[in-house]
Subunit: 333 residues, 4 copies
């Protein structure tokens, strides 16, 4: 696992190389590990996977001006084309030609990774490595929470997997007045309550929407953060949403979802936000601010820190449900 | 057709009565006229229908302080409960207990109509009767256009029925940089071009999304105003929408619509707005401002002005497609 | 101190009377008590003062439909004209003809007070009387904090009098990442830290702007909440504000303030918000939500609860600085 | 006048050189030409001035990937540091370390100019050279208009110099319902009316604020675009602004301005926006969209197009008031 050199000189000149010290395993990595239908259709054979990491700069391209060897850095894994309208207006995460680190270009499950200097994120010294390594999923959760706006509002989070749990912590730190969550896994529901959820519902108990309504002034939650990707959860979430409420969609359903548009969105005067990646780099400044404030509790979500060589065990812990966020560590770094 | 008195004294005290001089026929009125499945399930037998009108105040309740006999007025047809959170925060249009004039309470296809004083809209003297009578649908179109935000942006309007055509005029006056429309009716497509559309596509020509993309810097329109309610148009509209774009949904599909949420909304980072009624009364102030500016061309959409007694012909003109917006006039008023 | 009857029948019909059980003393009331230059120019002789209260409805006008005898209520003290654009778009607090309870019409330092039903606020049963009585200043603080937007941002509050202290608590509950405050009074600075301020600066130590900058990533705070009304604090606050930051102004300077517009606002790309009263009633729903969430700590700000008869002692406690927010209670209610 | 080479290799590698074909003269350039107090304190001796231009790429640095020799380009003159929070969140125009082309680094009154590739703007082939050369001031005007939001609103523009006149055209294209302007120069007032102003007031006639109020539903304009920098105009503009209105400040007063904050901003619930430069590159996409829409009338503002060698005459035309926007052209290019 060594980072490959780029063929193009100008391109290479603008890149730098980092030695990876810590890497997070994403749900996407698990899809690739299991080589499921999506992975077979999307991921190039031979690519080095992995896109969540922290490391140290060990070499820089000849034109690099914004970094120095020795810096502790993470990097944004969305590599935009740099010349389209989204890229030039702070929306590189929705560039139509975006490359994803670890999917389209070689990623961080390796000793070294090379990324463009625009994507480098210098890590604040007060942020520990196991959190610096997972700014990517923290950023997804932050983007969702901040786009919806939770301050003083009641929030329903459908699905508390890795990012859903992060969203619970973030919504709590960001001033949500009430947090309700749903999931099938009792352990994750319990963890969500530890992180600040006021109520946790078993997703297969069809009375939860009624209870959620009761707990929100009999009007339903003002904000829906959809993090499950399950069609039923999406439909129940929309049905529960208060008139005038905001739904932010992050979870990816595997199939088309039939929505009752008049009742779920139109009559309700709802706002629906599609959430993809992170605002570069507004979202990561928010993550940094919240982490440094001491108000954001993420540690309980990082259930395991393993040596990089035990990556197989890491995937197995995810598959069994015993692990939530797994961080791999390079020994001696 | 005479307005019925209210039984409750306090309620009556807060109402006033208007003599109707002009009334518009809404698509909803046509549904009721045809007594379709929706009407049979929703409209109370014996109700006086109609909700678009202008008239003069002929009597006021004993507690009325905000109007006077003789005033020329229209009225907002959403009658909120007045005590819920939406009603008390300027969002009475999404009150869960809202009554709709002409559906839940007696409407304006009558000599007189009684409405709460909160709903009365004094009409500016420079606005002619045939436009004052249709602030309701003009407001729906305005609400959609202004919620999406069109100034300097490329706009796709799927469906140019009455409200879609109004949206063309409004988007043009509001500074849209490019307006594309789709519909099945060639006459309406032609009228849309007269009102400011840059390009008009036959909805059944499946090459239009490609052409729309070409015409919008090869990125797709920045704004979708969905006014057809047709599942296919909704899906095509979402597919055409630019990454980071805004879709405002007004048209009401009669059935669930299966959406490809990842590609249509989530990866795209799209914003979707459900549009119901009007912002009370922000939207009508916008209508008034635009009409008084002389920049808003609505007259060509009002194809027929008939005596109130010929209302059956009005409905037939709508059914045949010969008429678009029909305004009924009370003779001698 | 008895509420006076209104002369106009229609007006009376739309009003109700409340028996006051608890009333807060506002800084404005102290100005009137001291009969200073502003009071002499603004307040009508003979008016019953006071505008912060909670009570029970004891009588309702004949046209009142939205309240019932026995309800526990507070009321919004901005009584708009009801017919202007601000009033009809949810902005009654900036109606040009607004009447203020206790200044323009008889207020709540009395056994009874009469207010229009539109202004009545039913109090949630879980909110105690001493907090229900002070929704008015809590609302001013909430309006300022929520208009600026503090979630995840660094906040500077210049002046921690009554409303400044409330703003500290609210900013903390609303998810501010860092809170800095300035004031001359060491006791209030200490209380601010108890309520969630990370750092409290003596306003007369001119090194505080430098320290504030150091504590905010060497860029200055992202949000300024100006609550002192002192020209020097206003100028220092603007100078400290980060490029691209937001300043919300609530404090009222007694004289014109000379601003360095290019450096303080224009080059900085700053946003400045004038804050007047509360958004009716969005702000009070926010206050209610935060109070019910259990995350908002207001009790330490209510330093004294006195029998209504001891109102003179209440004013003296304010004047000496010993008291902060004083709530007067009607014995036996 | 030849562009100077940069000393630093890495820096040079990331730059490209353009041959200037057309350059606009900015008011700032006139200040420098007159070598006034501001220029003496701010501009380095020996710098090549000028920052508005269009040209063709004649050479690129070794690491440049986003441009090619032969491209027709303009460039954004704000050269941010690239690593601070504003630069990394789409707000490089308010970078604390920003360099300005033609002030801090050699500018475009020359045969060649070198700019970083991030700043290059490829010009759409349908946009003519004399407009492509002035995207900088057009962008200032666009930024001001779009930040304030004019669609359907009444707009007051105090000061119709170059950028104020551009703002008239843009506000008209962007859907303003009414445009009022003030200035001392009758010729510019007349031109403003040609460009879309509904009313033009002599700034020294102190009755204009009353007339402006009459023309805006007796409430004052909803939007103030301050483009004069004159203290009196600023104060009159704020006084005229409607309650709840928005003021965008672009003009730079030479001295502190004493504002009546309670009446001008706070009680009014006003929003004040400091406008600096352009949003990179959102603003220029807006300029491009509006220009390509055919709805934006800028040509009458470009009063003179002169050979580059006649630049002294260009400055004299500005000084005499005979010229408004002067564009210099390189013969044979």
């Amino acid at each position: 696992m060594v980072a490959r050199a780029d063929a193009n000189a100008a391109d290479r000149a603008a890149r730098r190389t980092s030695a990876v010290t810590h890497a997070g395993i994403c749900g996407t990595d698990r899809h690739i590990y299991e080589w499921d239908a999506w992975s077979r259709s999307r991921v190039k054979l031979g690519i080095t996977t992995g896109h969540e990491f922290v490391g140290r700069v060990v070499a820089i391209g000849s034109a690099v001006t914004r970094a120095a060897v020795g810096q502790r850095v993470s990097a944004e894994g969305h590599i935009g084309c740099g010349i389209c309208q989204p890229c030039r207006t702070g929306n590189g995460h929705i560039c139509e030609k975006v490359d994803i680190l670890g999917i389209d270009t070689d990623g961080c499950f390796a000793q070294y990774v090379a990324v463009p200097e625009e994507n480098i994120w210098p890590v604040h010294p007060d942020i520990p490595d196991h959190l610096a390594a997972i700014f990517d999923p923290l950023g997804n959760a932050m983007h969702t929470v901040m786009a919806a706006g939770v301050s003083g509002r009641s929030v329903l989070i459908t699905g508390v997997g890795i990012i859903g749990l992060m969203a619970v912590s973030i919504a709590h730190a960001a001033g949500a007045a009430k947090i309700l969550v749903t999931d099938l896994d009792p352990k994750r529901l319990a963890l969500a309550k530890t992180l600040g959820a006021d109520e946790a519902f078993a997703a297969n108990d069809d009375t939860w929407p009624l209870k959620a309504r009761e707990l929100t002034h009999h009007q339903g939650p003002e904000v829906l953060l959809e993090m499950s990707g399950h069609p039923k959860a999406i439909r129940q979430g929309f049905a529960a949403l208060r008139n005038g409420g905001t739904a932010a969609l992050l979870g990816l359903p595997a199939e088309p979802v039939a929505l009752d548009l008049p009742n779920d969105i139109i009559f309700k005067g709802a706002t629906v936000l599609g959430i993809n990646g992170r605002k570069m780099f507004e979202t990561w400044y928010q993550v940094e601010n919240f982490l440094l404030s001491g108000r954001l509790n993420i540690d309980p979500i990082v259930t395991h820190r393993l040596p990089m060589a035990e990556f197989e065990r890491g995937f197995q812990l995810m598959q069994s449900g015993e692990g939530i966020k797994i961080v791999l560590e390079m020994p001696g770094l």
